[in-house]
């Protein structure tokens, strides 16, 4: 009976979509995203390209503010039954989405609407971050990035170096030399919740150190944080001692300039941030700034692993009509085309998410032209190794709050309120309580 109903609805939808061009009445569907400013305009252009490309569907793209606000608004809309068809959800929202029961799996959607997606065309580091444990992808990676080391070539030349440091030992030496050569800020960092991404998550991945048990949470909701027992402790100890020596400076909006602005102004010689900022630095850099990007340093003797993907993916929500799903499938298919990847990566700073997109961009000579030269380092960093169970990603509930705990712990350390180990132990203890609370909220449920 249910099957009959589905068939009937499907047939109805099919006839509706067939009749659509004749009626010149396009099926409209909503896409909510969490980017603002210049990036929001770029998403608007992608939507416009899609609407111009065919006559059956019209996507209505609306920015809902930042990632957090988009998720809040979507949840409110879903609870009221007015949810959009497609929504952009940031990386750490993946665990919440998977347990929500509010989505329509992307792989199922594409198969039902007659699209064959070459899932293995996605870079493994990107695909596995967003995939369920069986490898099925329930959402489409959209804007992806990873963390890189940005370095000022001109200032490094003053200390006789032509390459960025590859190890932290080398970086420490370089920072001392840079300081002696008169640099006021050999490296700019910040320790707000956002930087947990660079300092904890990316660091742990490339060193193949776990953030939490059960493969960083991919193996179950009953995971526990363990980064108070890994190389992360040494890393924070070093950062603090470099800070005390004046080698590392805190640059944040509260001090006057973010580290990205301070780097672009030529004040800081190094910083660690997303490849997504590559375009920003090129745009706001003081004239003549000679800079480049490199992979994040590792401690000597470490076998480098792949860095983590950051950014967001597109989820299709439950409870929409077959016609809207058909439109959503067409849209997701459209943005996965290599030409769109080239456009998107050119106007933003995000990286292509598929091998074919990357190859297409290479063939077009994208990476040979300044200011795009250097962005291929992000791909090299993401594909430095096959993802291990630990470098696949981090899938932990309440992770937004855990990032805030990490930030609080780092601030305690940098303000000399607590010694390193004690502060990180505290972060882990409070973080584990948050994980437990998340698991209690979803009794009897498991991550797919």
């Amino acid at each position: 009976m249910n099957k009959n109903l589905l068939t009937a609805v499907g047939a109805l939808a099919l006839s509706a979509s067939l009749a659509a061009p004749a009626m010149a009445d396009k099926t409209k569907f909503d896409f909510w995203f969490g980017l603002t400013g210049d990036l929001a305009q770029r998403v608007g252009e992608v939507c416009q390209h899609f609407n111009d490309s065919q006559a059956d569907f019209e996507v209505v793209c609306t920015s809902q503010g930042n990632y957090d606000q988009t998720l809040q608004n979507t949840i409110a809309a879903f609870r009221a039954g007015n949810q959009p068809t497609v929504v952009q959800v940031y990386d750490v929202g993946t665990a919440t989405m998977m347990l929500s029961g509010a989505y329509y799996p992307a792989n199922k959607l594409m198969a039902e609407n007659g699209y064959t997606v070459k899932w293995d065309d996605y870079f493994p580091g990107i695909a596995r971050y967003y995939a369920a444990s069986n490898g099925d992808m329930y959402s489409f990676p959209f804007n992806s990035s990873t963390a890189l080391l940005y370095w000022n070539k001109a200032d490094f030349a003053k200390i006789g170096k032509t390459e960025a440091p590859k190890t932290w030992e080398e970086a420490a030496e370089d920072m001392k030399l840079l300081k002696d050569a008169g640099s006021a800020c050999p490296m700019g960092i910040n320790i707000s919740a956002n930087e947990s991404w660079q300092l904890l998550e990316q660091f742990s991945a490339i060193h193949n150190e776990p953030v939490a048990t059960k493969d960083n949470g991919f193996g179950g909701l009953d995971t526990e944080l363990v980064f108070n027992k890994t190389k992360f402790v040494k890393y924070v100890t070093d950062l603090k001692s470099w800070y005390d020596q004046g080698l590392v400076k805190i640059k944040a909006k509260e001090t006057g300039k973010t580290f990205v602005e301070a780097f672009a102004a030529g004040e800081c010689d190094m910083m660690m941030t997303s490849v997504g900022d590559h375009g920003t630095v090129a745009k706001i850099a003081v004239p003549g700034l000679d800079w480049d990007v490199a992979e994040l340093p590792v401690y000597a003797g470490t076998e480098r692993k792949n860095s983590l993907v950051g950014g967001a993916s597109l989820w299709v929500l439950a409870g929409k009509s077959p016609a809207e799903y058909k439109g959503a499938a067409a849209f997701l298919n459209f943005i996965a085309q290599p030409e769109q990847a080239l456009f998107w990566s050119t106007v933003t700073g995000y990286i292509p998410v598929t091998k074919s997109g990357f190859d297409y961009m290479k063939a077009q000579g994208f990476y040979d032209k300044p200011p795009y030269t250097g962005r291929e380092v992000a791909i090299a960093s993401l594909t430095a190794s096959e993802p291990t169970p630990i470098t696949r990603g981090v899938r932990i509930g309440n992770f937004t709050q855990i990032r805030a705990e990490v930030s609080n712990g780092l601030q305690e350390i940098f303000a000399n309120n607590k010694p390193v180990q004690e502060a990180i132990d505290g972060v882990v203890e409070r973080g584990n309580a948050l994980i437990k609370r998340f698991a209690d909220t979803y009794p009897g449920k498991t991550l797919p």
Binding site: Q72, T96, T255
Partner: protein, 319 residues
Amino acid sequence: MVRGPRSVPGAATASAPVARPRPQTNDKRVYFENRWIGIAFVVPQVLLIFTFFYWPAAQAVYWAFTLEQPWGGGNTWVGFNNFAAILRDPVYWNSIVHSFVFAVASTGSAMGIALLFALLVDRQLLGYRVFRAVLAWPYAIAAPALGLAFRFILAPEAGFFAVFNRIWPGVWDPTLDGNDAMIAIIITFAWKYLGYNFIFFLSALQGVPRALLESAAIDGAGFFKRARYIQIPLLTPTIFFLLVINITESFQDSFGIVDIMTSGGPARATELMVYKIYFDGFRGLDYSGAAAQSIILMLLVIGLTIVQFRYIERRVHYT
């Protein structure tokens, strides 16, 4: 979300006790012949309050006793566990202490400075008309915009306060020094409410009979004596009203400023109760924990208001 008495400027003006003889309202009271007309006038308002206040508040109370899944997939009854977890958490008590420090300091400075300014403007010194208009403006600025402006002004490396760091390096650093960060949000909040308080103080001062001030002046009372013995005693109803409003608002209206300026940091030094509710509920999607915190905050604000009415209002003399 919990909402206490709000300071809608228009409504507040109407109810603000001002030191002047009460109008004899009894003579002007209007009666409806038919009581149903009266009820009909009240119904839309009651419906609005029910839909937008009581119903959501009741839902928050329900969530506070459950673990609610953010997407509405279901919830589990946990009784008082949410409250127990919060009250057992030293970090939460920390946020209560910070909220009180913030409330006392920001209310004290906002009211003290506003009173001083109002007394000066009331003296009709040169340019008082300009000051009277300009000093009311800060209240019209939205908290996030204000936070952005003060974040720049108070930035240790680039803002106006950078001057102090140039003289004494490292003396001002709200990024890592918790006390400096607390001072920063207090300054910002006080600046906003200074304008609000100023309007009320000034209008109340203008209700003080000129004859009293003039005769005191003839008797040789200077500016401070006149303020101390004549104006401030006559302002007690206004001071009390503003005290209740400022304390209540400092518990509720501060999260926009905290969010933009410090995000509760460094190391939780500016994590006020209302910011923690916002962060846990909206950013962290812990609806139940945030609902329980909201109820605690609501009870606290109600309790504070009762205390103020019982113990402070006794000293207020309405004319």
